[in-house]
Assembly symmetry: C2
Homo-oligomer: 217 residues x 2
């Protein structure tokens, strides 16, 4: 979909910070802020300003001394790099509380991720609708993913079903999986998996809190 030159030369650590910059930049556009300094972007991303300038230099964006970066231009460049200048068609498997929360997650739609198909193994849920999308049985995954040309699957099933669901998604043609299930997935090399562990954020928070908690006790 994209043939930007140098596309693969951006370090992984930089890639992981681009969405953080993007989120802040989108807030600035809402507030009609036209330019932003590397210092301001640095504070939101939790890195120093020199690193921001280095990161953005990979995008060919250098800012103007004393003025800063053009917010709109930077938004466009990051969106291009992240592949967000196209729509991403997403399937969600597992419609428990987490899956339902994800269907309704407003952040997805804002970033051009559209939830196009829902799957659950529970016959009682199959045929019901969430946000206008009908829940299908997991046996329909391969066919539906192929027919609707879905490229990303989100797994929010129990651990025991995650591998089976992943294989069906891959069989249908998905090339990226976001895995919320507490399970390690085995997939072919051409498929990217990112595992989300919500307790990691809580652990990092605990580390910082543990240094200050004595103040009040």
């Amino acid at each position: 979909m994209d043939s930007t030159t140098g596309f693969r030369h951006i370090p992984e650590a930089t890639v992981s910070r681009l969405p953080l910059y993007l989120r802040s930049l989108l807030e600035f556009t809402e507030q009609r802020v036209a330019t932003v300094s590397s210092e301001r972007l640095a504070s939101v991303a939790g890195v120093n300003a020199a690193k921001v300038r280095k990161d953005l230099s990979y995008l060919g964006s250098y800012g103007t001394r004393g003025v800063g970066y053009d917010v709109e231009y930077l938004v466009r460049r990051i969106q291009e790099q992240l592949g967000l200048d196209q729509d991403w068609r997403v399937a969600i498997a597992g419609l428990g509380n987490l899956g339902r929360a994800l269907v309704n997650y407003r952040g997805f739609g804002e970033r051009r991720f559209s939830v196009e198909a829902l799957f659950d193994a529970d016959a009682a849920k199959v045929g019901t609708e969430i946000n206008g999308v009908v829940i299908q049985g997991t046996e329909d995954i391969e066919r539906t993913v192929r027919e609707r040309d879905l490229s990303i699957g989100i797994i929010a099933t129990p651990a025991g079903s995650a591998q089976d669901v992943a294989e069906r998604l891959v069989e249908g043609g998905v090339t990226g999986i976001l895995n919320f299930a507490p399970a390690v997935l085995t997939v072919p090399d051409h498929v990217r998996v990112r595992k989300v562990d919500l307790s990691i954020e809580l652990q990092i928070l605990a580390f910082y809190v543990s240094g200050t908690v004595t103040e009040d006790v």
Copy 2:
């Protein structure tokens, strides 16, 4: 709670990787693996082996050449550093789908986070139970947080209620907030806030997928 020397000298980037190492190490202990190489830890954390060795050296853990790191020792050291050698008492505000998913999130209990109080503004939910914990009204936050000595609050409310809930949590004595609401919170300096944006993981995934998607199309 902790007076480990050098506690504050660990770089932020290292801190953010410790939970990743810990998760893998806990899996190794389940599989009764006694030692692990820096290369193996590196692959799970998505960094190179030299960085793993550097990170772990901050914990005073150097491994043994040709043998690797003692898994159990390393687990203990990381848990100490992350403050996970104590129990963390957590409140969750907002019991929509996401809040309910978090109450049931098994990863929290495994990491010694226990959900001790639930709050929601919806009178229809107040008085009902989830996992044996009764949902209280948001007006009870200050008193309950103080009485039960809760140190961490998780906000899973709509954006419009997040600031009010945050202030009540802080008033009660919480010193760490994990914020899932799409809102920027203003809190006193002694309170740590971590914002979780689930679409960030999806954006990072999209970046990697966008480089391979042409294979199948």
